[in-house]
């Protein structure tokens, strides 16, 4: 980061100002009294930014594609719901606890599962999601197949939305910046080495097992916190909603679409695809929107397997090289 600042101070200062004003604008947005629909839409965008960024810690940087991210999201949601129903604590306070529980489960599960590579890891993470869903469906204490209700916040619907908007925005920002920080750190460099070649990473003395586990736990912690808050926003949680395979799929798709090698990719993917999805569902229909989603996934993996960001960057690099050849 320091090198970047020294290299081109002006442009990074401008970028910082643009970023700051964009954030301030987003924070102030609800106070312009927009229609509630926009707030809900933005809340769901923030949700997917948070989930995709937290998934990206493991899935993007190390290439260990998890299809079980919803498990940790759900654990967070169930933790805050149980805390609220049994002890009366507000989910805003217990969301951290939800994240901690999710992280703890990730530590226990990740230790054996992260030894598997590639498709084997993906399949076993999918199995984890299925098993966890079956267990929650049959666990009477957490509502089983009936689901769990949260007590509603004692405020009007508008104030309710505004509060959740600000909290989800805060979470999305914190998680995005945390992931960016990790990416630029030594920890992130280690993770990226694992993606490039895990055996080489091991031989140069990187404790790959530990790094993967750390990334998995951190990502799961974030997912748990987000789940805790988002469950409260939904006010009703059920294993079929929170453990939905399609959510895992969306996370994967958004990360791949934007490009999972940088922190910007998931951000871009989540924003673009959430908006596109909303538009298509509203104007054409849910089934067609999902067909389009599938087509996008196929096209993305065939034509830009590293995502949009890398695709754009690579185009620039190729042009530079071509120009270089001409001059030489």
């Amino acid at each position: 980061m320091e090198n970047e600042n020294q290299g081109k101070p002006k442009s990074s200062k401008a970028a910082f100002l643009i970023l700051l004003s964009a954030i301030l604008l987003l924070v102030a947005f609800p106070f312009f009294r927009p229609p509630l629909f926009f707030l809900s839409l933005l809340i769901s965008i923030f949700l997917f930014i948070s989930l995709t960024e937290s998934w990206n810690l493991l899935g993007g940087y190390t290439g260990y594609i998890s299809l079980g991210h919803v498990v940790f999201f759900s654990i967070g949601a169930y933790t805050t719901a149980v805390c609220m129903n049994c002890f009366g604590h507000s989910p805003f306070l217990t969301a951290i606890l939800g994240g901690a529980v999710a992280g703890g489960v990730a530590a226990i599960v990740g230790f054996p599962v992260l030894r598997l590579k590639g498709a084997y890891f993906s399949i076993s993470s999918l199995l984890l999601a299925v098993i966890a869903q079956l267990i929650f469906l049959n666990w009477e204490f957490v509502g089983g197949s009936v689901g769990l209700w949260y007590k509603l916040m004692p405020v009007g619907i508008e104030a309710n939305r505004v509060i959740f908007y600000e909290v989800m925005l805060g979470l999305a920002l914190i998680i995005t910046f945390a992931v960016r920080y990790v990416e630029k750190s030594k920890f992130g460099a280690g993770l990226i080495t694992i993606r490039e070649d895990e055996e080489v990473a091991k031989t140069i003395g990187i404790n790959t097992a530990m790094l993967k586990l750390k990334a998995f736990i951190l990502g799961s912690f974030f997912a748990g916190v987000v789940g805790g808050v988002y469950g409260y926003y939904l006010s009703f949680i059920h294993p079929d909603i929170t453990f939905n395979v399609n959510t895992s799929l969306l996370i994967l798709l958004m990360a791949f679409f934007g490009g999972c090698t940088t922190w910007m990719g998931p951000l871009l993917g989540a924003v673009v695809l959430s908006l596109a999805n909303q538009l298509i569902v509203t104007f054409i229909g849910a089934e067609i929107s999902r067909v389009l989603y599938g087509l996008i996934l196929i096209l993305v993996i065939i034509f830009m397997p590293n995502g949009m960001i890398e695709y754009l960057k690579a185009g620039k690099r190729v042009r530079k090289v071509q120009q270089g050849w001409k001059h030489a």
Binding site: I65, L127, I131, L134, I288, R290, G294, L297
Partner: protein
């Protein structure tokens, strides 16, 4: 075990019935899985969309039965042929571009994930997501052997699976093309060196595997009700069989199917159904962790 949950009379006949129906079911799961193992072994393609084509096969048989009155067993050749064509097209459009990637297994997994969503939602758009069941006259009836009752649907499905797997086996071991497929499986580079057109072999393998999935879908449709999103459950069973058995051979997958069927049968006699699933997937997870090459794997 959790005996307190079963308030049913626990006698030897009941256990036998449970085991027999489990094994019959396992045979159909085996047919559902052989094609998946075949593409994985030969092409290094992990085809998540395998089960969705099985559902498509079930729907094709269903509609020709409901609209045209054609018995599902008679429409099977047509279903298999149609799915062979569809499989070939899917190979050309989706699989072949992906097989050029660095990590074929991951790339194909994500791409076929996309294919699954497309096919599943086209199906639920056309035919609505309500459950359907293939009900020709003979499926509702049962066979009585002494005091043991076996319903005919699974029996016919099992016979169907047996014949289809035997045909696949003969194709792979007796025909020239089949031997080329096997050679590619055993050593892709060597196969190319002795002049086998790898692209053509891959096309045939993939189309054949989709066709076998379609036939298995008809067999499943005779026993269980199906709807577009049921493919999620079927996919899990395909994973279960392929990984427990190991990406080895057709016979290995068939044996694993029977073994899993036996486990389902025995545990269903003692446990509530939901715990059977949890048990099976835990078993799969354990095998993944400790013996990822599978029981019959090479």
């Amino acid at each position: 075990m959790r005996e307190r949950d079963s308030d049913r009379p626990m006698d030897i006949h009941y256990l036998l019935e449970s085991v027999i129906s489990g094994v019959l079911l396992g045979g159909i799961y085996a047919l559902l899985s052989v094609g998946f193992g075949l593409t994985w072994g030969t092409m290094q393609v992990l085809n998540i969309s395998h089960a969705v084509f099985a559902v498509l096969g079930a729907y094709l048989a269903y509609w020709s039965f409901v609209k045209g009155g054609i018995d599902p067993l008679l429409s099977i050749p047509a279903v298999a042929f149609l799915l062979f064509i569809i499989g070939g097209a899917a190979y050309r459009l989706v699989i072949r571009p992906v097989t050029k990637a660095r990590d074929v297994l991951m790339g194909s997994m994500v791409a076929t994930f996309g294919l699954t969503i497309v096919v599943e939602n086209i199906m639920s758009g056309f035919w609505h997501p309500d459950p359907r069941l293939l009900k020709p006259s003979y499926t509702g009836t049962s066979l009585f052997i002494g005091e043991i009752v076996i319903s005919k649907g699974p029996l016919i499905g099992f016979a169907l699976a047996f014949v289809a797997i035997a045909l696949l086996y003969l194709f792979l071991h007796r025909t020239f093309t089949g031997k080329a497929v096997q050679a590619t499986w055993q050593n892709p580079m060597g196969a190319v060196l002795v002049g086998i057109n790898r692209d053509r072999v891959s096309l045939i393998t993939f189309a054949l595997s989709i066709a076998s999935a379609g036939v298995a879908g008809v067999g499943m449709g005779l026993i269980y009700s199906f709807y577009p999103s049921v493919q999620n459950d079927w996919t899990l069973y395909v994973f279960l069989l392929t990984i427990v058995g190991g990406v080895g051979s057709i016979i290995g997958t068939a044996l694993t199917g029977l073994l899993i069927g036996l486990i389902i049968g025995v545990s269903a006699a003692f446990l509530p159904f939901i715990w059977v699933n949890i048990l099976l997937f835990l078993l799969l997870l354990i095998i993944l962790l400790f013996k990822p090459e599978g029981i019959f794997g090479v």
